[in-house]
Symmetry: C2
């Protein structure tokens, strides 16, 4: 709920974009008293697939990766959650164990709210439930769209699409006014995210460079022709 440990929910920068914007002052005070803010290093985890769901996590800053084990036991990245997003709420609402593992991708501050508190707030304030409903609707649509994309678009098109999504969240202009991203995830994770092999991702990246759309140096991406790139996403 707050950018600094022990900070107040009332000062939290993401308060108005998270589910908790439905709460009134009294409820927010309750939340503020029982929430457990904590700072995490990259590589650590909030919970593991199969764990019991003891509560939910609100991302204040940083980036969380949601992973699932595939049939071969490999851990594959399923989605990313940034500031203002709530993690683990679907398992909470379903009253089931966690279906996935939540891994810290970037140094993050995350507030934990234990189950009983969320339940109390949900009973007190129906609007909070509606906020969760909205969030779930958004998730469902996102998965629907991605399913649609994965059977319609090629790997390269999906890569460009992902780059645009990441650009919206992590993009910036460098000193020369060029559009840039510092990718928060590895190529392997990119591969998992769009449902392709790491080799194909590597080749797709080469193709994107050959076409002069962008330059890749490690995790740094420099866009050369954002208009042409966006244009490639249109035709389908």
């Amino acid at each position: 709920m707050t950018g600094e440990l022990g900070g107040s929910c009332f000062g939290c920068q993401v308060r108005h974009t998270s589910e908790w914007c439905a709460l009134n002052d009294a409820e927010l005070t309750l939340l503020n008293n029982v929430k457990v803010p904590k700072s995490y290093e990259a590589g650590t985890t909030l919970f593991h697939q199969g764990d019991d769901c003891d509560g939910i996590y609100c991302v204040s800053s940083g980036l969380i990766g949601i992973r699932r084990l595939d049939a071969d036991g490999n851990s594959t990245l399923v989605r990313l959650c940034g500031p203002g997003e709530t993690v683990g709420y679907r398992s909470f609402l379903k009253k089931s164990g966690h279906r996935s593992t939540a891994e810290i991708m970037l140094p993050s501050v995350v507030c934990f709210v234990r189950r009983a508190t969320v339940r109390t707030l949900l009973e007190q304030n129906p609007n909070l439930g509606l906020r969760f409903l909205d969030h779930t609707l958004k998730d469902a649509e996102e998965f629907e769209d991605r399913h649609f994309e994965s059977v319609t678009l090629t790997v390269k098109a999906r890569l460009l699409s992902l780059l645009m999504v990441l650009y919206e969240r992590f993009g910036y202009l460098n000193e020369n006014g060029e559009s840039m991203i510092d990718l928060p995830i590895s190529r392997q994770d990119i591969a998992a995210l769009i449902g392709a092999s790491p080799e194909t991702i590597s080749r797709s990246i080469s193709a994107v460079q050959d076409e002069g759309l962008a330059q890749f140096k490690g995790r740094e991406v420099r866009f050369r022709n954002l208009d042409a790139l966006i244009e490639q996403l249109r035709p389908a």
Copy 2:
């Protein structure tokens, strides 16, 4: 809400499996008074992609197909909704236009409940909202799983998986005790549903027949070896 036009919600066979099982008698009476049951021929539509959302539809009997237009303007089948399921509720909850077209696949009876009524019931009974939440969660999980399948399994495996789903809903034993399905959809729709071309579906069906798993005659499927078929779904 009812198997016969003008019938009562109280006697509806799907009442206990639909969202409306959350309602008490008074609320059900309200619903019963304002709902509009209607019989539809195959090929007609409940609403079109882009239409305003004026309410939600509860499937009493028959089968509804949800279609979306792809980039080329082709209408592709996205999912099927059977008795007890509610159609168009996500657009309603999101207060947005319909993202897809709902087409009648089999002769169906569908009850329309207009927006104001649903809103009233939602305000009166928080449990109804939770039911919708559950449904949305299920939708999200389904698309998550299908996304996973579509990048993991071959077309033939996905076809077998779809056949099992359809068997659960439309399967029966014929006079010889053989497991059968009368497919409710065309091969083109099967193709769209699992994300493949119609030609590949046709070839996959041939392969399934060559392996002695099932016989296809038009839309009639006769299973030859259900155990072996299920076994092929396991390995993952």
